[in-house]
Symmetry: C2
Subunit: 445 residues, 2 copies
């Protein structure tokens, strides 16, 4: 609550709320960007009792130094200083894959525990790093790697440990959510919404990771591992970009009682993991439809507990730093107790597929002429696909006429086959936009 430092004039931390004789754990922050800065601020302002910030490691320290940290904190440009110090917990918030991975390995190997917010790294080699940590009787925690400040990793791992989770579904990328909301509410094009988001700092100069789903996919892989105990590599999860979404799609979606969001889903069914990151239609009444701006939301479904929702700020220095500091505290607690080799639920390595059975939304843009519907309907019928409805917004140009076909529930792969044949038709102005319609209880049937 207080904005003032709990360090006294000599730079020593106050005893604060520490219990008698509790050991103090030394913490190093590696990477002093937005998140690192926020972590330092929380450690300084709140001074959670068993923690002491001792090192900050970053390039160009002179440029980075801040005046609100106690003089006892050592600033260094060399990770070797951190490795050779008496630091107990290394906080990695520099990002990237290398040298980050090496540094984390070396920290663990030198008997330090690690807290990281690095989703790309953890989604790729989390299990190896966890094994390394265990072999050294250390821990690696990565609560901040998914959904920023939303405590979903600890929620799935601990709060719902008693359940058998089989499905995770969520909005994991605030940039996409912001862009889609803007197209929806202002009727602008994707390109305009993206430019606007870049101007406001909600999207990167190179927005590919966000727009094409790679960012969300890394997070989904981590959630599938923690919640569904599935060993899944992010590269095996299908990603589809939101860049083909147009404002007309929101008009059609609204007519169907839906909106469009970038949805990350993973559902375990036997030895198959149905997983994808893609734009999809979700009911306006669903919590997923109501996620705003950079908010994130994760819904997990368990055999016993049903649906549980976790929501909050998915990005930003302070919320992400809350997750980091919570992880540091958890490690300190567990170090205090003496780290144990925890019994982990066995991991399975499922066959990963994106072949969900759902209803489907097909939006065409055509040069209008008689017989188009008949041609499309004939091809769909060849694949045993049932048309549910055909919708056409009035008052559009005949030379680029958007219209919609919705399909009854069937497998995505079947629709994709039909669309390959349809793609050869000469009346198409653009390739057909194909989105799943996620209404009611989505099951990977």
């Amino acid at each position: 609550m207080s904005g003032t430092s709990k360090f006294d004039a000599t730079g020593k931390q106050n005893a604060g709320t520490a219990t008698h004789d509790a050991k103090v754990w030394n913490v190093a922050i590696v990477g002093f960007g937005t998140v690192g800065n926020s972590v330092a601020r929380i450690l300084c302002e709140r001074a959670p009792s068993p923690l002491r910030l001792t090192h900050i490691c970053n390039r160009s320290v002179a440029r980075k130094k801040v005046d609100w940290l106690p003089p006892s904190v050592q600033w260094t440009e060399s990770f070797e200083d951190v490795l050779s110090s008496d630091v107990d917990i290394v906080v990695e918030v520099m990002g990237g894959l290398q040298p980050t991975e090496d540094w984390i390995r070396r920290a663990l190997a030198s008997g330090k525990s690690v807290v990281t917010a690095n989703k790309q790294l953890i989604s790729r080699c989390g299990p190896e790093l966890i094994s390394l940590a265990r072999s050294m009787h250390q821990e690696i925690a990565f609560g901040a790697s998914v959904a920023g400040g939303v405590p979903v990793i600890s929620g799935l791992h601990e709060g719902l440990a008693g359940d058998d989770l089989f499905k995770i579904c969520g909005i994991l990328n605030g940039t996409c959510n912001y862009i889609l909301s803007q197209i929806e509410s202002n009727g602008v094009s994707f390109a305009t919404a993206l430019r606007e988001a870049q101007k406001l700092g909600f999207a990167e100069a190179d927005p590919t990771e966000d727009i094409d789903g790679l960012d969300a996919r890394a997070k989904l892989a981590i959630l599938a591992r923690v919640g569904l105990h599935c060993n899944v590599q992010p590269a095996s999860i299908l990603c589809r970009s939101i860049s083909a979404i147009d404002s007309v799609d929101f008009e059609y979606a609204n007519q169907l009682g839906c909106t469009i969001r970038q949805i990350s889903m993973a559902e375990l069914k036997g030895d198959q993991l149905f997983a994808a990151v893609q734009p999809a239609l979700v009911e306006l009444s669903s919590p997923l439809a109501r996620v705003e701006g950079s908010q994130n939301l994760v819904m997990s479904t368990g055999t016993y507990g049903g649906e549980t929702v976790f929501g909050g700020h998915g990005a930003g220095g302070h919320p992400t730093a809350v997750a980091v500091v919570s992880d540091i505290l958890a490690i300190a607690r567990s170090k205090q107790a003496g780290v144990c080799e925890e019994a982990h639920a066995a991991e399975i390595t499922p066959k990963v597929t994106a072949d969900f059975a759902t209803r489907h939304y097909l939006r065409f843009l055509v040069k209008d002429r008689p017989g188009i519907i008949a041609t499309l309907a004939t091809i769909l019928a060849e694949y045993d696909i049932n048309i549910e409805a055909v919708l056409q917004k009035p008052g559009c140009s005949k030379s680029a006429l958007p219209f919609l076909i919705t399909l009854e529930e069937c497998r995505a792969s079947l629709v994709e086959q039909a669309l390959q044949k349809i793609a050869l038709l000469d009346f198409l102005v653009h390739p057909c936009l194909h989105l799943p319609i996620l209404v009611g209880d989505l099951h990977a049937k």
Copy 2:
């Protein structure tokens, strides 16, 4: 995922996913009602690796016995059998204050840890029981005591440990939520909605605990302790019943862009805790407005992480049992490590008040005659209260005319003083219904 038992024919539990040589922790279930049954079912079907169900204690065992538990489980009517056994973790799901409290104390004193779903007991004497547990190097966990399967206790305690939480707001009672939704969607009276809820098993024969807020208040006291580190007794929290809410109130609330829900709120401001359980107007766009049936939702707000939402099934055997089993697993993990004396954030004992500063909704039912608005406005002005709007639904009987006055933001206590004076006026058919209007960011200013 599987519905089949993981016990083999000899009644021994399979090793399942246990790590080598991991100790097995013996579990007793005390109270074999709906929740106890579900806990046994999860322990039997999932057989989480370090746990073994060894005892079930209940009155009239012969009537209670089920055939799907392994023969190795001992059924007993005597708690002494549990106390003298090698049980490590006692699960108390019998409810009530006595003999439950004594039994929990004796279990802890005899070196067993305890998991309980007992909100009334924990809200009244949680701190003492935690102290007793610590002094015996044991633990007491109560994740199931609030919001059933929603992992909010662990979320506040661990997932958000790095934040400085100062506000908790939520829907903690499914019965009230169901009744209010029914009044809203079917336009029925409170009495009719309650009768219907009782018929369907959503409300007890004596619904006082739910309707008058006592149930939610116990949960709020626990959340305030865990999340805000406030030592607060449930009896010090103001409760107001939902029984005065009429369908006309939903019509007026809708005109204001709101609905009405039973809201539990606690906000720490310096050494004051603003806390209450009461029906209130919430914006239709708020997550609180969209909670359905027996769902529960908790929003916490922190200095660093902002708002975080936890939602899910707030009641029911299986969801509550998930919380219980998650707690058992957490205790087993921590016993495995060697229980430590955890550094707890210092608790404060705040001054508890319900004197929130909000906008206010005053709904009158009057025998109509000229001058009523003038009279009311004069009294409100005496207390420096500003009227925001006056609304009157057309077509109502002159002898029992409902109309609405909304007030600009002011303290609840000021409104109550004015209402005491207003209560003396002879044109009132009923006492005025006074609800806070919670829109935007509610602050206990």
